[in-house]
């Protein structure tokens, strides 16, 4: 099993959600996160006020998938989240040792 983690632009969440549903993903976890990548922070100006934006708001999406489905999920997110501009985000994939569905106690792929 794999954990696919994607950090994307906030407004892309709906499209990513749709794309994942289309490839058969049953559930996902999202959180509002802030951070920076190569684009670092930037300065914004509102009239006389100039202020530093150190961390850029993003949405983190986490999906647990079977090994065989991981590539499809990564592709779906890549396609849906891409605008071609800076700050589109990143996806990474982690191996997962164990998954348990709390209600039933099912383990492994059955719990996905």
């Amino acid at each position: 099993m794999k954990l696919v983690v994607a950090v994307i632009k906030p407004h892309k969440l709906d499209e990513v959600k749709e794309a994942l549903r289309d490839v058969g993903v049953q559930g996902l976890t999202t959180s509002d996160v802030e951070g920076f990548g190569r684009q670092r922070g930037h300065t914004e100006v509102y009239r006389g006020a100039e202020y530093q934006v150190d961390f850029v708001p993003k949405v983190k999406v986490e999906v647990l998938v079977d090994d065989a489905d991981a590539q499809g999920v990564v592709d779906a997110i890549t396609k849906a989240a891409r605008t071609g501009k800076i700050g589109d985000g990143k996806i990474w994939v982690l191996p997962v040792e164990q998954v348990v569905r709390i209600r039933t106690g099912e383990r492994g792929p059955d719990a996905l």
Binding site: H11, D32, Y46, R47, E50, Y51, P57
Partner: protein, 686 residues
Amino acid sequence: MTGALPGTAAGRGREPPAPVARLLGQLRALDRACSPGHHGRWSARRRAELVDRCLRELFDAAGPPPGVALAALGGYGRGELAPASDLDLLIVHRGRAEDLRSLAERLLYPLWDAGFSVGHALRTPDECLAFAAGRLDAATSMLDARFLAGDLLVFDEAHRLVRGWLREDPRGFAARLVEDAREREERAGATSRVLEPDLKEGRGGLRDLHALTWVARVAFDGDLGALVGFGLLRDREREALEDAWEFLTRARSAIHLETGRRSDRLLLELQPAVAGAMGFVDEPGLTGPDGLMRAVFEHARQVEHVGGAVLDRFLAGDQLVVGAEVEPTPAGVLRALADLAAGSAPPAPGFLDAVERADVPDPVPWDDEVREAFLRLLRAGEGAAAALDALDRMGLLVRFLPEWAPVRCRPQRDPYHRSPVDVHLLDTLAGAARLLEDEDEDDPVVREARRLVPDRDGLLLGALFHDAGKVGLGGHVAAGVRQARSALDRMGLPPASRDLALFLVEHHLLLSDTATRRDLEDDDLVLDVAARVGDQGRLAALYLLTVADARATGPAAWTPWRRTLVRELVAKVQHVLERGEMGPELAERLAPGTVDAGFRAALARAATPAMRRVLSGLAPSGAQRPERLSALERLMWAATPLEHLRRLAEMAWPLSAVGSARGVVRLYAERFFRLVRRRVGWRGPE
């Protein structure tokens, strides 16, 4: 210790002794005597009496030695037993506790076996005093202590020691109760606001009522009546407290009966059952559970306020604001409250009496005097919210603003809001006032924006009414505009204030929704927001309202995450409005009579690629969707002087014949002309 309804625990193979068996039967009969939603204070007293009788018989049968007394403590001592309350007992003695262990066991085992939750202590009178001196809850528990059986003299000694000690410093005792109430609010939340209120420990809950009786007992050796007698509690307030006490007791008992456990929190899952038991049924715009919560909030709010006021008055002594004469007219009432809002001292009971006696017709006819007084009150900033709240608790606010009635105490069932609608509106008002004034504000955009707000009254009124449409009928923004318009029109405000307030009510979600859900790098989107907002002053006011609204909503609503996104949008929209791209400033430079070619060129330079394609008559790419073009339509419609709009229409007219009937340019042109017809009445070339 978890309480449990007696008789529900599995028996332990032993028949209970006769007094306990009888008690179990009597309690079951009492529980059935009325519906689960109607066990109020009478039922609680009756339950205590039944337990008293059983305990006296058990105590006598246990063969107590001389010099020993049995007493009831806490809620049981007050004679108020909810269905699953603990029985707190005290055995007062003069000897050694070890000698009484077997007595306690003979007394308590039959009760434990029958499933009662019983707490007990064995203490000498001196130990009672030592405990009371060490812990506030031990002291108040002893204040409520009630003699049940045995040696009255030893009980009296213990009781007198504790009361005597507390009476040495009644103000100090009251101050500790105030501190305790504050800690309880941190721990259990406010019964008057949270969606899953704790009816006992929460602020405005039953514990606040108990605190008043303790103050009355320590300071005046009396009950709530004594507080009235000594001028600390007004008659009307006492009625409100008694009503709340009955209501909260009923609701709490209903929870006990519903869950079978001593649980005082009105959880979401219990609300439908408790509402049903208490007779709250679905009404248009208000479900049964919402009706229940509205009543809980209403009562708890009275307890919170009156309880706080009584303690304030007691602690303040003669430092109260008596208030100049309250002129007994609607405007006079508002002026008196505005004076109060500007200060910080609590109002004296006499002041509130005078306000209540004033002749305030329902509804109040608004005239210049009333409006000026209302605006002065509003401008008092944070104090204004408190003053309007006080006005509402006296039942007067809805006479000034009938639109307030449907949002009063209305619960909000979503993950973000932590307050009922009306509390949220007042919190937002206070927050907006703070944003306009606060020197310590750390958001640099707020500090800039406050200087641009064109009309402060308009912002404050917008804050006051922004959620006025939450009346249980869906679509709260459109309904809010209707409600706000009806209120603002009645007030007879200057158009600038009225229009800004209405604009804010209509668009109070625009920045937040757009920033978190849409692509801020889409120029059309930014232009669209700029078109809807129209100018820099409105943008500034809208940002301040967005901040005040979110801060008043709850900790989850104004995160740095959300703030960064909203500020990015505001900065981008501000740049558009500053540069005058497609806005009034560009339009201004294009004086009437400008030749078409110049106008077209200027417009083309400022326009987005999509607009340029339209202007030059080029077919747009297949990806261009008509609904995105609507942003431009709105922008031109909102921000361009009529003369230029007309020229633009003339210029774009030929486009309405371009391409296929479903082509983008043509769709755009047709919709554009529909708008133009409405605005300038131009129907195409003659």
